[in-house]
Symmetry: C2
Subunit: 189 residues, 2 copies
């Protein structure tokens, strides 16, 4: 039996991504979002949603660039902090003891201590209700060497990226391996 919850922005899983930008004075800032996802494979593109009122929105539009910073599960306090304080009133890099590094491909900073970074250039903006939905090309993905598996590829288990569960407002890590994609479903063919 299913219970109906009505019109709600609730789906599992949602990500926990820290968005890096430079403001108009060139000061680096970071802000956390849970509304986003990959939106194309070619050119590789990601979409995130931000309210217009957020400090990050103006910076992102001015520079047409941002980074997506994926934390280790153990960095959840930093990721959460970056979502509850505005860059208008705080230097989040100093407060959370993190380091801003200039990106190679776009005009935005990334967090040195985070294991997975996407350098993104804005390619489109769409208003969706109270949010601005920003589509961007991913020009580079950088991953910490300690987060690579023996095959040299990024290992989600080593990063243990936080997953956001809305309504209850919980963060969870990554659990057991469920199977190989494009493979385990062959049992039904």
């Amino acid at each position: 039996m299913k219970k109906s919850f009505g019109a709600l922005s609730l789906v599992f899983p949602a990500p926990v991504w820290v968005i890096g930008t430079y403001d108009k004075e060139g000061k680096p800032n970071v802000a956390t979002v849970a509304w986003g996802g990959i939106c194309s494979s070619d050119p590789p593109s990601v979409a995130i949603s931000l309210r217009k009122s957020r400090y990050t929105y103006d910076s992102l539009i001015q520079r047409q660039a941002f980074t997506v910073n994926v934390p280790f599960g153990s960095q959840i306090e930093i990721a959460d902090y970056c979502g509850i304080v505005s860059g208008r009133n705080a230097d989040k890099f100093a407060a959370a003891h993190i380091t801003a590094v200039r990106s190679e491909k776009v005009d935005a900073p990334y967090i040195a201590e985070f294991p997975m970074i996407l350098e993104c250039r804005v390619s489109g903006v769409m208003e969706v209700g109270i949010h601005m939905h920003i589509v961007a090309e991913i020009l580079d993905v950088k991953v910490e060497e300690s987060a690579l598996g023996p095959d040299g590829l990024p290992d989600i288990a080593r990063i243990n990226p936080p997953v956001y569960a809305a309504e209850r407002k919980d963060y969870y890590g990554i659990g057991q391996h469920l199977g190989k994609a494009f493979s385990v479903g062959k049992v039904f063919k």
Copy 2:
């Protein structure tokens, strides 16, 4: 030290969602996507990306409706199967032993056996490279009663929704509780 992977559609976590539609003859079909995310809180909205060539894309555009079906972790074989076979050539409901139920709010079917369902009405479509990026209003969220916590809210740990890790093509479940959102970050304030 970070290793650069270049332009790649890779970020953690990505979801595993099975999209439900009726085709032009009214036959229910399901197809799996990993490119998507919530894109507004008000009106509650979700965005997914599909290639134009997919059977689901035509159905979704004709009916202006679809469902997002989130599997239990234990249903990963069904979710994977729905991504490797086209509805043009197979009745995936029969093959995977799942049941199509007509949605209440939109002209699309959902999977009875899956624990979390979003009923969605298309509100915008944007071409992003090789993908069509579809924005839709979430008109209802339905959750199986066995997937609710003692507080009556959807419990991500009981659903254990699969997370997709691209490049290595792995599915993982949900792990340990990392903390409360809008709370654990207060240590830096």
